[in-house]
């Protein structure tokens, strides 16, 4: 485990993938991996392979769809985009996540003070 880098939970990764696809539009697997690293300012250490496990899970649930396309530098790549049920799921999950992290933050602060 690299010091100073965060390990991520499975469900969290799925949520982040949905979030990125929502804000950035259709992306391929490598793009998603890069984007994840960028937004977390390289604090998140991910094995790129795990992205694909997450993508498969999301496809099986019907929240994203995949199609082959051409990348910005002319390579064949599979692009993923959010489906409408995925968007709904993201709303619900994001809400839940915010409430949850608020609670966790509060608890941690209280505990720290005590």
């Amino acid at each position: 485990m690299h010091r100073g880098k965060l390990d991520i939970l499975q469900g969290t990764l799925d949520l982040m993938v949905l979030q990125i696809l929502d804000t950035m539009g259709p992306m391929h697997g490598y793009g998603l991996a890069r984007r994840l690293e960028q937004v977390s300012e390289d604090a998140l250490q991910i094995n790129h392979g795990t992205i694909y496990a997450s993508l498969l899970r999301l496809i099986q649930r019907g929240w994203i769809a995949g199609a082959w396309g051409t990348s910005e530098n002319g390579r064949k790549a599979k692009f993923y985009s959010l489906t409408s049920s995925g968007r709904k799921q993201l709303r619900a999950e994001a809400d839940k996540w915010e409430r949850m992290s608020a609670v966790v933050g509060r608890v941690l602060r209280t505990a720290g003070r005590g």
Binding site: H28, G29, Y30, G31, A33, R34, N47, H48, G49, T50, Y52, A53, L56, R57, I59, Q60, R61, G62, W63, S71, N73, R75, K76, A77, K78, S85
Partner: protein
Amino acid sequence: MLAGIRTLLSRIGLTLRPGSEDDDFERELRAHVQLMSDDLVRRGVAPDEAMRDARIRLGGVTQLRESHRERARLSWVGSFVQDARYAARTLARSRGFSAVAILTLAIGIGATTAIFSVVYAVVLKPLPYPRPEQLFNVFQVQEAQQNTGTGWSYPNFADLRDRNHVFSGVAGSQHHQLTLTGWGDPIAVNTSVVTAEFFTVFEGTPITGRIFSTRDGEPGAPGVVILSEALWRGPFAADPNIIGRAIDLDHRSFTVVGIMPEQFRFPLMRESRQLWIPLRQDPLFGAWTERRGGHWLQVTGRLRPGVTPAQAQADLDAMAARAQREFPAENAGWTARMLPLQRMIVFDVRSALLVLLAAVCVVLLIGCANIANLLLTRATTRSREMAVRAALGASRWRLARQMFTETVVLGALGGAAGLAIAYLGVGALSSLVPPNVPRVHDIRIDPAVLSFAVALSAAATLAFGVAPSLFASNVDLQTRLREDGRSGESAGRRRARNALAAAEVALALVLLTAGGLVLRSFAKLTSVNPGFDAEHLLKAEISLPRFEYSTPEQWRGFTRDLLNRLHAEPGLQNTAVTIPAPIADGAINLSFEIMGTPAPSANASRAANYVSITPEYFTVMGIPLVAGRAFDAHDAADSTPVCVISEALARMYFPDRTPIGQRLRFGFPPGPDVTREIIGVAGDVHDVLLEKPPGAMMYVPFWQAPFPGAVLVVRTTLDPGAVVATIRRDVAAMNPNLPVTDVGLMPDLITASLAQPRFRAFLMSVFGIMALGLATIGIFGVISYSVSRRTHEIGVRVALGASRGQIFRMVLGETAMLTAAGFALGVPFAMFATRLVGHLLFGVSDHDPLTLVAVAFTLAAAAALAGYLPARRAMRVLPMVALRHE
């Protein structure tokens, strides 16, 4: 929910299309590496290095691929498919084993399914009428006289109909033939004579036209007829304007009022060309509607909803008591009973069919035991494979599942092949089933039979698959792997195999005993002397339309004229007339009194089968006259009424005096009060069925007791076809509208009367042979496997000085033990089985010693043969070879 389904669908999609998704994922991973290395190169990394870094960042590609595949599939479906594929490969590799197992199973399942299709169609399937469970056959019994299951007289039926509180309707019916003329050649057509309520009770709906109304049942109503669809499509060529047309039956005009669809049958026989007419309009039975004595009308009642059979029986009892009070002369001692119509229809054949089904199930069981044994043997030889798998981490459950998958594949293949055999078997069977079995036209592979076959295959798979799977997966790693290729066998497995073989012997013993008895009974039947000489005897029937020939004088005149013509033909001098003919026709049972001797009790009457014959009859038939004289030309219409009785009647009613000169009085014909003098005693004849002992019979001169028709019996060595042609020509010369029907050679008719016992004997023999063969193979398999397992041991024994004879005896001894165990196990069941078939037997006791000895001997001989070959092989084992072996 929806998402869950989608996941499942996408997984199944992947499972069913292996490969495509893998390729897709492979390409995607390659694209990922490419994109990343492009990126790195842009940032100044050298291309080679960039590629390597990209791969590292992606992670273990193989692992990724595996986990992707794993996640993308339903794991259990995947592993089942994997197991099934593996099983198919394994089975394909050991072709001999698979062929034997699948064939055994296919024959067992096929035969069982075919027999079940017959049982289902004949016995189990609901009758083809609406709410058939409400339909009951209502019959009269006179317990004191052991008169069971007889019909009703019309007045008694009418009382039942009008007085009962439990039936929504009751209907009476009888069956005979009428002559249809005016549509091509005259034909004799099956006719059901029914009361007006008939179609209402059976809830039959015509294709077109109407059913009978109450008015059609009244005296003097104009003649009406309902045709069956088959008859309408046959002789009437599906004439669309048939309703309202008149047709001629026995030269009387009947107006067609309806056509019943093919599905509506009554009686439920193969032949569906028939017609229905109201009882009162029938030339024969119509005349009997006023008489209260007599028991000829079959009655079916439909219970009111909510009425229990017990309540109905109570009502019948009350009505019978009243009838006895009101009309003691006719009804003394008579009560009424009822049985579900379905039971009644298949009364005779039900138990025989169930015995056959049980027998074929036994064959299937023996087959399953054989397959189980084969699987056990294979499991032993494969125990090292199992040990390796277990060592590599397969759980016991996983191993058992894989073994069981193999048996499932085996079961499925066997079941499918069995179904194919069943299809063929049903075709063969339905032509083999005797025509007098009801509902044979319904025998087919329908959804019910198909489900039975599937359930049977599943049950068989469980039966032969569970034990071997559990044994096979019970792997003792240490010993197996250490054994260094020599796969010894656990005692438990050996015991299981021996037990299976012994069980096979036991089952075969049961089946062979039952089959042997049935077969021997059939042999006895065919060697029964019918009491007359059937060789070169031909029979033909002419029945006179009763509207055209209405008086006894006309009947006498016709028969006399016909006999004169025939006697003038060359080669036909030996021709007589009888009504009815023995075996070929039914019997006419009549009660009689002995003048001067009171009846034994008020509730009992004496009865005998009544035959009206011309004087030549005894000579033509070869029936010996034991005492007195036969009829001659002097016994004419206006001379002293006389009769000849059979030996059985003489024995029964004149045990201590000569019957000659005694006088009898019958209620029929020509008048109820005719007394007849006994002038002779004739030899006994099996007049109804060979399996029924000769009953009391009385013969009367045709000229004194004529019928409207004649059954001709001709003894001739001429070609039967030519004889029949001559008869037809002579009949046509007298009246061109008379058909000659029911033509047959007496030996053929006797053979036909044995159709049901022959069917049983044939199938029981087939099943017996199958059981014997399978059990022999079973013993052979176990013993020869044991010998091959013990090659090493035998080698040691020989090396230590055992003689060949000793080795031979040792192996045969093992066979004998196995067989003896099977016998011990089988005998109690065999005793039980003989009791089950007891009522199907004729002239053989159900523990006939000859049969039992023969069966035991046959089975022991088969076992000895099965043990002999491996024993010989064991005897030839060379110690050096054996000790180096393995």
